[in-house]
Symmetry: C2
Subunit: 344 residues, 2 copies
């Protein structure tokens, strides 16, 4: 079995971590793609803090990289929504290159971006490529929950709670998350904003799809998270007064024709000293079941899953294959290519 | 797709629950097998508290039942160790009947009972049957842990803790678990007893097998659990004095050639008012990860998994197929037979 050839698509914080992990698992990185003028022409090793050059020069011409290197997989960390992600996924599909992306909507985009997804699925099937969205949500918000559901005889509701720290993602995200606004300003923004569907909806769509149940209705409610006492926002470098907004929580809910109700609360706010990323799920039914992962290192588990999913994506049938349809994720103790061909 | 035809093999507490769950999922129960004279000749519905007869008369002749009914699956809840379980599994295999069992050792018996397992595997392959051990441990001690491991880049250790209440299983089990002994009596018993391998070892064997790592050494240590204050044992109907034994904890450990160490602590003791079955796992590596399932309803999740695994076992290749090799468990919202044939 030959080593896996990968192209790193997007050279930012996440693919910097992923690059190191790919090399640790004996993946040959044969190309790197970025649109950033400050990165094009430079060596990927220099840009990803490896302390050595890789002999891989960053290019802004994805098609040319794919034609020259014919990789087994492209690992994409560029954007979040399908409206943007379609650009990278389409060029992968057109060149017959399997792709794994951490674009959040790509986790299960069939309902939130049906036309784009169907188009990508069609192109990928015509060239033999597989396109899959993964990341932290693959296991923690979908597959581990679906497995927990598999230990129930009857389910009436599935409820999840997760959170992330706005201060981890810089001032632009803090602004998007309404940090520092008054409740009045927040309500005004909420009323007037044209927000895209939440990623929580994609999570619930994947869970419901795995059960085969039928979506009856889907709602998203949003409530502000308020500072209980004055708190300092690292990303904005200012104090948020008690009572002002430190972020917000989206509550997605899907009701099914057959009865079970699926709810997911996602809170993005400025953390206090005792806060950490959580992942907590509760199933009501026979029996009642719960799951908690303590303080979850969300950024790292996004990168680990992008790497560990690669053998599953290469082996999957062609098309847009969502993560709940992949095999149960496994630890990759050995070089990634040794997981191809069914030997392990 | 026709309905699944099942034979209930063993008519005790667990298969009483399983019988109801099978009927709820539109499985046709076509036979029932028991060696108990008090049950043979009676209707399965009467014996399983359904409040109605099923037209299924309990037989003590498994071969005859299989020849008459040609079931798709046998659901076995009879015993715990392969030395005993081989009787039921062999007759299933010889008649080409798929079987799912909650015999604990059957979860991964390749190392603890290699000859028996190889023989059953050979017979099953010759007749096209699949034999699988499942139960609470399938998801909670193996597959959910293996999935969690799949979100790590590097693992140095995997440590699990689980517990069960001796008082749930009657006076014989309480005696086996040394409840009421002094520490001196316990040490004497521990020194002289010829205990079979722990079920914790089967759990770790399954986890290690899933990683492809190589077992270097395997140890089991046992320590008594002592009453912190006087506690009443329901099953023995007597008080256990402070300082005396309320059960014990087996600590299984597997060291691997490649480095990662796997440990599983299983505590079977008389519970105090604040105790409940736990399932807690911690992975050390990059990153550190944890999982907890709160208070786990172990008996029910043993039954649910025996039922929900049936489509996986019917669809699996022939032979002795352990649970870590089955697809990720799914919730069965619809009649079980609708999960065959790949439609869902």
């Amino acid at each position: 079995m030959e080593r896996i050839k990968a192209v790193v698509y997007g050279v930012g914080a996440m693919n910097t971590i992923v690059t190191r992990m790919l090399l640790d698992k004996d993946v040959d990185i044969v190309g790197a793609i970025s649109r950033s003028e400050s990165k094009v022409g430079r060596d990927l090793g220099d840009l990803t803090e490896l302390g050595r050059q890789l002999g891989v020069v960053v290019s802004d011409d994805a098609g040319e990289v794919f034609r020259q290197t014919r990789p087994d997989i492209a690992v994409i960390a560029v954007n979040s929504y399908m409206a943007d992600a379609v650009e990278q996924l389409r060029i992968c599909a057109e060149h017959g290159v399997n792709a794994v992306t951490i674009s959040e909507e790509a986790l299960f985009p069939w309902h939130t971006s049906p036309e784009i997804t169907a188009e990508l699925d069609r192109i990928a099937k015509s060239t033999g490529a597989t396109l899959t969205g993964t990341g932290h949500q693959d296991t923690y918000w979908v597959n581990i929950v679906a497995m927990l559901m598999g230990t129930a005889h009857h389910i009436s509701s599935v409820t999840g709670r997760a959170s992330w720290n706005v201060d981890d993602y810089g001032p632009e995200v803090a602004g998007d998350q309404q940090v520092g606004r008054t409740t009045g300003q927040f309500e005004e923004w909420l009323r007037d904003s044209q927000r895209p569907p939440t990623f929580g909806r994609n999570v619930l769509d994947a869970l419901v799809a795995d059960t085969g149940l039928t979506v009856k209705s889907q709602t998203t409610r949003t409530r502000p998270d308020l500072a209980a006492e004055s708190v300092f926002s690292q990303s904005l470098q200012k104090n948020i007064r008690a009572g002002d907004v430190i972020g917000f929580t989206d509550v997605d809910e899907i009701q099914t024709e057959e009865g079970p109700v699926f709810t997911f609360e996602m809170s993005g706010r400025v953390y206090g000293p005792d806060d950490g990323d959580i992942n907590e799920w509760a199933i009501e039914g026979e029996p009642d079941l719960v799951l908690s992962n303590g303080a979850v290192p969300t950024q790292i588990t996004t990168c680990t899953q992008m790497v560990n999913r690669i053998p599953d994506v290469i082996a999957a049938p062609a098309g847009f294959v969502t993560a709940e349809k992949l095999p149960r994720l496994r630890y990759r103790a050995f070089p990634l290519h040794t997981y191809l061909g069914g030997d392990r």
